[in-house]
């Protein structure tokens, strides 16, 4: 395990780039805080993706240039946005009607844990005793597709992909794809299929750092960007 812990993993930008490949042309996408926020920088050329944010904006522009910050134009992560044509504003009830009503095609979220059956636990660390659920539960339940982008293991090297979540759940069986710094894994609600591994990593090594059984896809390959 010592050697695996020291082995080079993929940077966050590459994870974001890999997730970006999954976003269909013309889709409405909600990006969570952290790695997910970076996804918008890597959408393949020729595709248009419309971003929704719980702050009450649809068709978010890029992050604001320095000096251009407007406190009335932010995303859910508190980052300032540039105004763009075709954006629109609305209140929180409407923002979540869009999410819960299934109008958002994909959400990309970070997570503490994902289980073998696609359960998501990303809102609360039990040791803190209190947590910020924010819009995560609505997104996990309401979005048509949930992609998780996270490190494969936590700070202590423990697997974040587990047989069953030990942290409080955000949503049950909602995740269909996990992109980590080691692998791309599909969830079909029954189990996990390893589809891609990071360069220099074998499926067996990824399995060693995973707390749930991975089925290795017959067409397993290296991360494709």
């Amino acid at each position: 395990m010592e050697s695996l812990a020291d082995k080079e993993r993929l940077p966050r930008e590459i994870m974001a780039m890999r997730v970006a490949k999954e976003l269909p042309d013309g889709s409405y996408v909600n990006l969570g805080i952290g790695i997910p926020t970076m996804v918008s920088s890597f959408v393949p050329e020729g595709r248009t993706v419309f971003y929704h944010s719980e702050s009450g904006i649809l068709n978010c522009g890029p992050l604001a240039e320095e000096g251009n910050e407007d406190i009335d134009l932010i995303n859910a992560g508190g980052q300032y946005l540039e105004p763009v044509g075709g954006m629109s504003f609305f209140d929180s009830a409407e923002a979540f009607a869009m999410i819960r009503g299934g109008h958002v095609d994909v959400t990309v979220l970070g997570s503490h844990q994902v289980s073998a059956t696609g359960d998501l636990a990303n809102w609360m660390l039990p040791q803190r005793g209190v947590g910020n659920v924010g819009g995560a539960m609505d997104l996990a339940t309401g979005a048509s597709g949930v992609i998780v982008a996270m490190e494969h293991t936590d700070r202590n090297g423990e697997p974040k992909i587990v047989q069953e979540c030990t942290f409080p759940l955000t949503g049950k069986g909602c995740v269909y794809l996990i992109v980590t710094d080691l692998a791309v894994i599909e969830c079909d609600g029954q189990g996990l299929t390893l589809k891609e591994v990071a360069p220099g990593w074998t499926p067996e090594e990824v399995q060693q750092l995973t707390g749930a059984k991975l089925t290795i896809s017959p067409d397993i390959r290296e991360f494709e960007l």
């Binding site: 999954e22 269909p24 042309d25 013309g26 889709s27 409405y28 595709r47 419309f50 929704h52 649809l58 068709n59 105004p83 763009v84 044509g85 075709g86 954006m87 629109s88 504003f89 609305f90 409407e94 979540f96 009607a97 869009m98 999410i99 819960r100 009503g101 299934g102 109008h103 958002v104 095609d105 994909v106 696609g118 339940t141 309401g142 979005a143 048509s144 597709g145 949930v146 069986g173 909602c174 995740v175 269909y176 794809l177 969830c187 079909d188 609600g189």
Partner: protein, 237 residues
């Protein structure tokens, strides 16, 4: 369990949303479809889309709408669609004018048309629930009336509330004053009526608009219905 959305770059509902004709914009509608039709009294009725629906020849439709209260000469309304025999059921709070009647009244009397009366606020709330992912709501207003019969009733704050379930449809036919090509929409006066709610509650949402602008042509503070709810646009005549 969620799933990967289809990646279909050729899908016209996600690429430019503007269609060349009402008939083209109604592609995919089939017999026995449930269709939401916006409009309140004579205001904000998607007449071109209703004509397109007549032209498409589909039948056995269930229409959910305010009703067919008035009919100005030359107008094309749900009453005309009922008149052409394409409608088997209407769900409405005011299906026809009790005195002036019309095709809806005639077909209802002859038994050709089924009518389900839903109180206006209940219908609006059921559609909003459908569009907002809510399964059902407990509403107080129809307590003690026939609208509560056969439904689950609970006490909240000392009065009876009736469980009403979410409602969704296959298509929504809407009418807006202007849209941008992404589908952000604005309305004129009370022509807003059912449009924003119905926009949320259908599989395919089609809008008849008077003008289409490029993105940025509509003030983002004034957008009433956001592009995320809209699939297809067609210019009015």
């Amino acid at each position: 369990m969620t799933s990967a959305p289809e990646n279909s770059p050729g899908d016209p509902t996600k690429q430019g949303k503007l269609y060349s004709s009402a008939l083209a914009a109604l592609e995919g509608i089939s017999n026995d479809a449930t269709v939401l039709v916006a409009g309140f009294a004579g205001c904000g009725i998607p007449q071109k889309l209703l004509r397109g629906l007549a032209e498409s020849g589909v039948s056995g439709l269930t229409l959910i709408c305010q009703g067919a209260w008035i009919q100005e000469p030359g107008d094309f309304t749900v009453a005309d669609l009922v008149g052409s025999g394409q409608v088997k059921k209407m769900i409405s709070p005011m299906p026809f004018h009790p005195v002036h009647g019309g095709a809806v009244k005639e077909q209802w009397e002859s038994g050709e048309l089924e009518i389900e009366i839903v109180s206006q606020g209940v219908l609006a709330e059921r559609l909003r629930a459908g569009g907002a992912g809510i399964g059902g709501v407990f509403l107080p207003s129809s307590s003690g009336t026939r609208f509560a019969e056969g439904k689950e009733v609970r006490q909240y704050d000392g009065c009876e509330h009736v469980l009403e379930l979410a409602l969704k449809a296959d298509f929504a036919l809407l009418r807006a004053q202007a849209a941008d090509t992404l589908g952000n929409m604005v309305y004129d006066g009370t022509a807003r009526n059912w449009n924003p709610t119905m926009a949320m509650a259908a599989g395919v949402t089609v809008v008849e608009v008077d003008a289409v602008h490029h993105p940025g042509g509509i003030d983002p503070e004034l957008v009433i219905t956001q592009a995320i709810f809209i699939d297809r646009l067609v210019l009015s005549d």
